[in-house]
Amino acid sequence: MTAAVSIRGLEKRYASVHALQGIDLEIAEGEFFALLGPNGAGKTTLISILAGLTRASAGSAEIMGYDVLHKSRHARRNLGVVPQELIFDPFFSVREMLRFQSGYFGLRDNDAWIDEILDNLALTDKANTNTRLLSGGMKRRVLVAQALVHKPPVIVLDEPTAGVDVELRQTLWAFIRRLNRQGHTILLTTHYLEEAEALCNRVAMLKAGRVVALDHTANLLHSGDERRLEITLAPADQLPAILLPRLVKQEGSLHVLRLLDYADLEGILTTLRTSGVAVVGMNLRQIDLEEVFIRIMGQESDA
């Protein structure tokens, strides 16, 4: 089967920066894939190369089997990109922009699908508004709409939820999820790791132009039996000193403790009881993607 996205030995050098230092990545059709990494890791450069906006210094990239440079027309027809910047064309309304975009992809009479996109993105009542007059969150949704006019098999979203409020974020993800269920491959970059954790079946982490982790989200989260115990202490109480080595994170009176396995739990509870601190809340959970991310990024810089 053809991979939706196939990247081999991809490098990008700018005058003073080696932005991508040999990326190999294969994304299968139908995946919901997250590309994570700190600012400057090369995520946007990678996406720009897939979109044909930037040319690679070495290596190759294919969209649905079409080389982005040598078969660019086919590659672009199969790709929808939601850019990170909040760009818009101040001359035209939402509907005009969507009709133009449809036309650029060679589609005429695309209004039925345009209406469906507008509806799903809660933009119907703004269809005839000039894009210049929209709020940031609406501009973002127009960008999503523009990327979808040609029903691309592969959809790339570069930080699509930055600046979008919670309710609309839910609407947006519900729509993207449905597209994914219908068979569209989704490639997502985001700084909200909980989004990636909830949505994506596979994750690649990028750091300084290299892939430093690539696995199924579940595998990353279940690496080992490590768990987290969140305890909220009464405001006046301190965490017993003996538990300090387990402390992962503290926010006010909420303490997150490392739990190597369930057997650890008994010892911790005993310590808490004997030290006489008042526990007002307690929650046991898996480690989350944010912790995995921070650990992997930390390991790399130690190496």
Binding site: G52, S72, V81, I87, D89, F100, Y104, F105
Partner: protein, 251 residues
Amino acid sequence: MSGFPMLLRKEILRFWKVAFQTVMAPVLNALLYLLIFSHVLEAHVQVYPGIGYTAFLIPGLVMMSALQNAFANSSSSLIQSKITGNIVFVLLPPLSELEFFGAYLIAAIVRGLVVGVGVWLVGMVFIDPGLAHPIWALVFAILASAAFGAIGIVAGIWADKFDHLAGVQNFVILPLTFLSGVFYSIHSLSPFWQSVSHLNPVFYMIDGFRYGFHGISDVSPWHSLAVILPCTLLICLLSLQLLRSGYKLRT
């Protein structure tokens, strides 16, 4: 189906939606030139026998306005899109460089011709300059607008900010057009400046265009065509090549 017709449509709508600035303003500009120069010179200057100065001036102003606006259309569209970032809207779709070039070029020609016709109609209010050979007039108008539209594409791709574009406009486009015989016949110049004028391609655009109106010109329209046609093709090829190279657009 190709994306070219839609890109062309968008490029034409882009200037038409703000026609007040992109069409009315340059027509008013030309009208001011016409009022001032014809007031000062009508009684004193006769370039060709039997043709008054105002009648002589009108085709020059039409051509000057057409090519300045052809340049302005493609260059300002590109620089605006680059600066606001929405150039990606036309870089992401499967449009070939030729389609991209064709849409920007034809929109520039359309703007040039619309403004040119506007100036001509306003001029007609004062005096009918005649139209001895309409085909010649049209051929030169299209070729000249194409050449300047293509220069506008090159300038729009090259420029990183509006200042750069203003530089090209003030130091290249304006002197080339003003010193091309819009306001005078080069026969009134000293032999030295006459030969300098013969090196300016815009001189042939205006001279050939004028032939279309008056049936008289400084050089034969065939001669002008022989100069303009290769010039236009050359600048178009250069512009297309620049697009194909991805220069500043696909880094």
